[in-house]
């Protein structure tokens, strides 16, 4: 079981953002995508999440191209973007519940507990602080199981205590044979981690 990206190139509005980006992930491994602003970190993650097609190159999950034969890839990964995907009129529990059952087999109480959200479970998401919204969103990751986590800025708006908490969850995910691909400005202090620097491959 592995995730392989080969010679990816990405174009946005006639502008080539990066090319020849290759990497691979095996169970238990994590990759930290680094780069200056505009280096294409988010675009790379969106390509890996099937939200953007690459200009050239291909991405494989267990040897199958994720854009051509996506059946085995769908449901095997979580994507967490800049936006929180929360409905303000729903409670924390309802939000997590919907996404978890939409994605796969839900375990909402476990997720609430993992991110210390039990007290907030019945609050409308619209009333939460930025950090609490982020935690609700992170709880999606464990509310339904997935092998690969694709995380765009997972630490933003979190304070130190919850950064540590998230690090623990991420370590456990990796220890259980999961994989992670993330981009963040802050140091996540995760060891061991492979670093993919887009500044070196970019133009």
């Amino acid at each position: 079981m592995s995730f392989v990206a080969q010679n990816l190139a990405c174009q946005r509005a006639d502008q080539l953002i990066f090319k020849d980006v290759s990497f691979s992930l095996s169970p238990g491994e994590a990759i930290w995508v680094k780069g200056r602003n505009g280096a294409g970190k988010s675009s790379l993650l969106r390509i890996c999440a099937r939200l953007l097609s690459p200009l050239s190159g291909h991405v494989e999950w267990q040897g199958e191209d994720i854009f051509k034969d996506d059946d085995i890839y769908i449901g095997e990964y979580h994507y967490l973007g800049h936006l929180d995907a929360l409905k303000h009129a729903f409670t924390v529990r309802e939000n997590i519940e919907f996404w978890a059952s939409f994605h796969g087999s839900p375990n909402v109480d476990f997720a609430l507990e993992q991110f210390e959200l039990q007290a907030l479970a019945d609050m409308p998401a619209g009333m939460l602080s930025q950090g609490q919204k982020k935690r609700t969103n992170l709880a999606r990751l464990v509310a339904s199981p997935a092998k690969l986590w694709i995380l765009d800025e997972p630490l933003s708006a979190l304070d130190q205590q919850y950064i540590a908490l998230f690090r623990e969850r991420l370590r456990r995910h990796l220890a259980e044979g999961g994989m992670a691909l993330f981009a963040t400005h802050q140091d996540i202090e995760l060891e061991p981690v492979n670093i993919l620097n887009l500044d070196e491959t970019a133009l």
Partner: protein, 221 residues
């Protein structure tokens, strides 16, 4: 399949929690219809003559008013990304959103339309025809509208462009819909017009989700 109904259920619950969307299009519909007697005068014969057209045009506009939110709300908070990469084919996703839109934004209009029809002095039979025509014809509005909503999702001022793109495509529904009511006022059978409306709806059921799914994938990429 359960995901399909889950998504419809979520959208309906959201619409009821927020409430404003339903009441907004409903009040818009009522106000537009009420403007006509004020504009053309209260003569009952004139009102009965223009009534079917007024009701249909007002329904088109009220539907258009809510269309741009069909994907926009999910786009703005990032939900659309997750829906698209989820296990449901994008065409089914569009269909679920269309059904939710029709149930929350269009069905209330159909419920209140007979009352407005009475206020415009439409005879009883034609009100039945009006309700039937709205039931058969309005799904097309949501289906074709989904294409426009998908193409304009994420645009600033997408709503204005949306009306330019979509309103010309609504013309057949308007014509057949009004013709059905007019026929019943003239003591003729409304059936041929209703059949045509149904045909248009079936066509839109095929074309709408396909084109809207293509539009959504492109708007997100």
């Amino acid at each position: 399949m359960s995901r399909f109904f889950q998504l419809i259920g979520r959208d309906i619950r959201l619409a009821f929690r927020q409430g404003s969307a339903i009441t907004l299009s409903l009040s818009f519909f009522v106000i537009v219809v009420v403007l006509f007697p004020l504009g053309v005068g209260p003569e009952l014969a004139v009102l009965a003559r223009i009534g079917p057209g007024v009701l249909w045009v007002a329904a088109l506009l009220a539907c258009l008013l809510t269309l741009d939110r069909m994907f926009q709300a999910d786009f703005e908070d990032g939900s659309l990304d997750l829906l698209i990469i989820g296990p449901m084919p994008t065409e089914m996703l569009v269909l679920a959103k269309v059904i939710a839109h029709w149930l929350t934004s269009v069905l209330p209009l159909i419920v209140i339309a007979p009352v407005l029809g009475l206020s415009l002095n439409l005879p009883g039979d034609s009100i039945v025809a009006l309700t039937g025509a709205l039931l058969v014809g309005t799904p097309t509005l949501s289906l074709i509208g989904a294409v426009g909503a998908a193409l304009t999702v994420g645009m600033r001022r997408g709503g204005v462009l949306l009306s330019l793109l979509i309103l010309p495509l609504y013309i057949p529904v308007l014509i057949f819909g009004v013709a059905a009511v007019d026929a019943s006022i003239a003591q003729l059978s409304a059936a041929p017009h209703l059949l045509l409306l149904g045909g248009v709806s079936l066509g839109a059921l095929v074309v709408g989700p396909l084109a809207a799914a293509a539009g959504l994938r492109l708007s997100l990429s």
